[in-house]
Symmetry: C2
Subunit: 215 residues, 2 copies
């Protein structure tokens, strides 16, 4: 005979709250910076992977600086349509910001081909042309992070912040370490893990913190 | 002095290939079913999380049945715009299939509110009206899986397959176990892990396997 499967009775609007309570319970007595905690918890929420407690790394005052950038109307540039689709664009628009992803643009594909680089590299270069305060949210392509590092190093790009959470096996670890050597505020998932879902979750956590502070 | 960061020189078009080689190396001597292997590896590729080796569970002949469904023009219904955006719609279109996500539809929001259910539940009910062969790819909402289970149990829905990989902490484990009790072919990530990225990765792995078989 099959064992009975018991579903918890949780109201739809309570599911997210209950999930965060479970995450908080399971984190136990870990002491988290109060501004970093919602970001770490949302990364865990979106992956059910508690590794993000250890691998998420913040530059000094990063969260404050990301919040200031968003309040000043910063736009977010991502390296995947998935991350773009996951970011809460309505919340960002409250401050005047928009989300851009140039990965599927024809000119980006063309330039990448001509340069022998990746579309991610070409789309970072395209973002460089935007005359707006920018936050980069990179969940996929380490080559995007490497190009951002170079552009910053050459003085051609001055982003407000970088969310550096590409996932993968080739140059991912290294690209993240490069970003941590820039003077730009960063939130980085050290190691191999990350993804478009993590990039979007971090953007949303920043936005929801701002919203809750303004309540 | 800072330690030198060494980037590997890998051609853009070789990065994915090299990543899969690394995954294969690190999996070592694990014996994988040859049809399941590309799916497991792509889930690991998209998350850098080797847990998917253990948690991905396939009903008997699942991969063959998903392939047949796709070749017969099955459409894919997802529970997030992120998953929809991550699925290779061009590959699917080769066989006549499309990807649907009803989560942002006004009528879905309205029905969910009226019923006191989730938009995921209402969007599964909307999908039920489609007169097409359907594969469900659920990466977020366990309530979607529970509703699918009920609709199948009541004889109102006959999907070709279910990719059941929602992520989370409330009823996620249980909802996946329910799906594994249906007669429908399934690919399920047992436990808490999963996500829109995993749902899209599994769909794409199925599509790329088909493409490679036809070469």
């Amino acid at each position: 005979m099959l064992e009975e499967i018991q579903l918890q009775q949780v109201l739809p609007q309570e599911i997210e709250k209950r999930s965060f309570e479970i995450i908080t319970e399971e984190l136990g007595n870990v002491e988290l910076d109060p501004l970093q905690a919602p970001i770490i918890k949302r990364a865990i929420h979106t992956s059910a992977d508690f590794d993000y407690l250890k691998n998420l790394t913040f530059s000094e005052l990063a969260v404050e600086q990301f919040h200031t950038a968003i309040k000043n109307g910063a736009c977010i540039v991502t390296d995947t349509q998935m991350a773009k689709s996951g970011i809460n664009k309505k919340e960002l628009a409250k401050y005047g910001g928009e989300v851009y992803c140039f990965m599927s643009d024809d000119d980006v594909a063309e330039i990448a081909k001509k340069q022998g680089s990746t579309r991610a590299v070409a789309s970072m270069e395209k973002a460089c042309m935007l005359d707006k305060p920018l936050i980069f949210a990179i969940g996929n392509a380490p080559t995007a992070l490497v190009r951002l590092y170079e552009l910053i190093d050459e003085g051609k790009l001055h982003p407000c912040g970088i969310i550096g959470v590409p996932v993968g096996f080739v140059n991912v670890v290294e690209a993240k370490e490069l970003i941590m050597r820039t003077p730009v505020p960063y939130i980085v998932a050290r190691g191999r893990k990350g993804g478009s879902n993590i990039a979007a979750a971090i953007c949303n956590a920043l936005l929801y913190e701002l919203r809750d502070m303004e309540k």
